[in-house]
Symmetry: none
Subunit: 200 residues, 2 copies
């Protein structure tokens, strides 16, 4: 017999909002309040299912914490009946942004971009760039390098004179290393927060 769908969507959405507000997964009692369930037994049941589906998991001391799938999100790229509904999404593609951008957490660092030297690559001031330290840089990669004792993001280039760093902005000149290039890592991703005019 196939497992029934067991509609966790509504309580899960409520819990996700709760977690975004409080950074805490509450107790069974409080979850019952949040979901408007009277008996604690039923709340417990729903939590068990969320644990089974990896939306939640149990930390030390029986405390609940978000599981691997907790931060997954639906992606809308087609329109259904002229209306994009995230709850019943066309594609069942879900992704967690962290997992999408970061493959090896221990070898990854974030770097906040300063200046407009990479503007033509769509990298703006204030953007955060995801850097993988251990990846070996290839010509054409965007790399984080040490120039004049400061970290800078540039494209790794090569010509007859050897390897050098190039900005993605014609206003900047190429940087040729005195000895060797000190490359700290390779860019593998980027994210930015864009602020709408008014905070809701």
């Amino acid at each position: 017999m196939p497992r029934s769908p067991a509609n966790l969507d509504v309580p899960l959405a409520a819990l996700r909002d709760y977690f975004a507000r409080h950074q805490i997964i509450p107790s069974i009692t409080e979850l019952g309040r949040l979901w408007q369930i009277s008996g604690r037994a039923w709340t417990h049941q729903l939590v068990q299912r969320m644990k089974h589906d990896a939306f939640l998991e149990e930390g030390p001391g029986r405390r609940l914490r978000p599981g691997p799938r907790f931060f997954e999100r639906g992606v809308a790229d087609t329109v259904r009946a002229g209306y994009a509904d995230p709850a019943h999404d066309a594609t069942d593609l879900t992704l967690s942004i962290d997992r999408y951008l970061i493959d090896k957490p221990s070898e990854t660092l974030l770097f906040e971009v300063r200046g407009d030297s990479m503007i033509d690559a769509g990298i703006h001031e204030g953007d955060f760039v995801v850097i993988e330290r251990t990846r070996t840089p290839t010509v054409g990669d965007t790399v984080l390098a040490l120039v004049d004792n400061a970290l800078t993001l540039k494209v790794l280039a090569e010509d007859a004179g050897g390897r050098f760093l190039q900005a993605a902005n014609p206003a900047y000149e190429a940087i040729r290393p005195t000895f060797a290039l000190e490359i700290q890592g390779v860019m593998v991703g980027l994210f930015r927060r864009t602020k709408p005019t008014a905070k809701s």
Copy 2:
């Protein structure tokens, strides 16, 4: 008499490591175990001080969560001994990019960008855009709108003729609605994966 320094550094460091491992602030009893304190009263005392100093704070249901200063670190964007150390370099959002980009999970959806109509805003084909559905759009915001039964990302503009949609690319013409604009949400963030030539 000035308040003594009250050395919280050691237990705080231990707690930070614990939190990095488990994403949870544990109970007083477990904290006592972590700090190797016998009586729960003294553990309680230390927690009170951490609350007072904004390293911890109390969430709903008396549950502890990290406070504003919990993720504090030393100087970030300078280079230490000519080497970028991820431990001291990454800011507090080492935690979670999801949390950085998404405020209200249930009202947020992701949208994959097609085309180059927003290229001047640093939004490329293949980028994922974070959309908040319930935020009321203001002129100047980047919005997800329904045009010819397809979702498209444009800037909301206004002139004497009323509101219309504008691309961030001079090659595209403005879109004037036949009746009303069908705006699905407002862009609040963006992320992209840039593929270095070889998958490591």
